[in-house]
Symmetry: C2
Subunit: 134 residues, 2 copies
């Protein structure tokens, strides 16, 4: 069911410093900062040859990653995103096996303009999983 | 400098349950359990179309991930592994810019039989980074 790893998201306390580190020290191809007000984050995508790294920083007071950075002030790996062909079929298959979807269970539009859902980390080895329909 | 994302490693409290979940619920292609006594872990590789997920479980009393699971009993995302062409050149470039390498700074042989190093998470946004020479 799951396909490609679309991205790994890393929450960072200083987005411009992290962006410069990936560009200059790690020598990767980095994109510009993009505000995603619907998701409460500012993001930078790092383009690797086979997938992307998404650097995340809180945007606004209600940012869903503010609590994560309060607990992990240096930052940390926040989630992985797997691609699926049909997000509603994927959701129904997983919830039918007892897994929980975060929020109201309905897909939202993600940073790439595609439908996304997040699965409850307690049901997946403490790992927050985003599913993105492609 | 960094190339492909070789894998994302997820530490799990029950390796066979996690393996079955990736195979049956998430519908991914999963490999067998492999003991890696030199690294103090038992691993299962999940083959995605563009990269791998490495499920990690402690092997032996001195396992480097035992402390992580003590702190995160449900499990969690443990590290990301980036490929590099020349691991000594990569190390020298990064340490020359002040980043720290874990252990004695010399590459070890990783789970794929290739030289690997780990970078200090405090120097990389709380994210443990493995470099693997390919």
């Amino acid at each position: 069911m799951i396909g490609r790893l679309n991205h790994v998201a890393i929450a960072v306390p200083d987005l411009e410093a992290a962006r410069a580190q990936y560009r200059d020290a790690l020598g990767a191809e980095v994109g510009p900062q993009q505000d995603e007000p619907d998701h409460g984050v500012t993001v930078v995508f790092i383009e690797l040859p086979n997938t992307k790294i998404e650097l995340l920083h809180p945007l606004g007071e209600d940012s869903p990653i503010r609590g994560f950075l309060d607990k992990n002030p240096s930052g940390g790996i926040h989630h992985v995103c797997y691609e699926v062909e049909d997000i509603l079929a994927a959701r129904d298959r997983l919830t039918g096996q007892g897994a929980r979807v975060l929020g109201d269970g309905r897909p939202k539009t993600g940073a790439h303009g595609k439908p996304v859902l997040f699965l409850h980390p307690k049901d997946f080895n403490g790992c927050l999983i985003e599913l993105e329909e492609v």
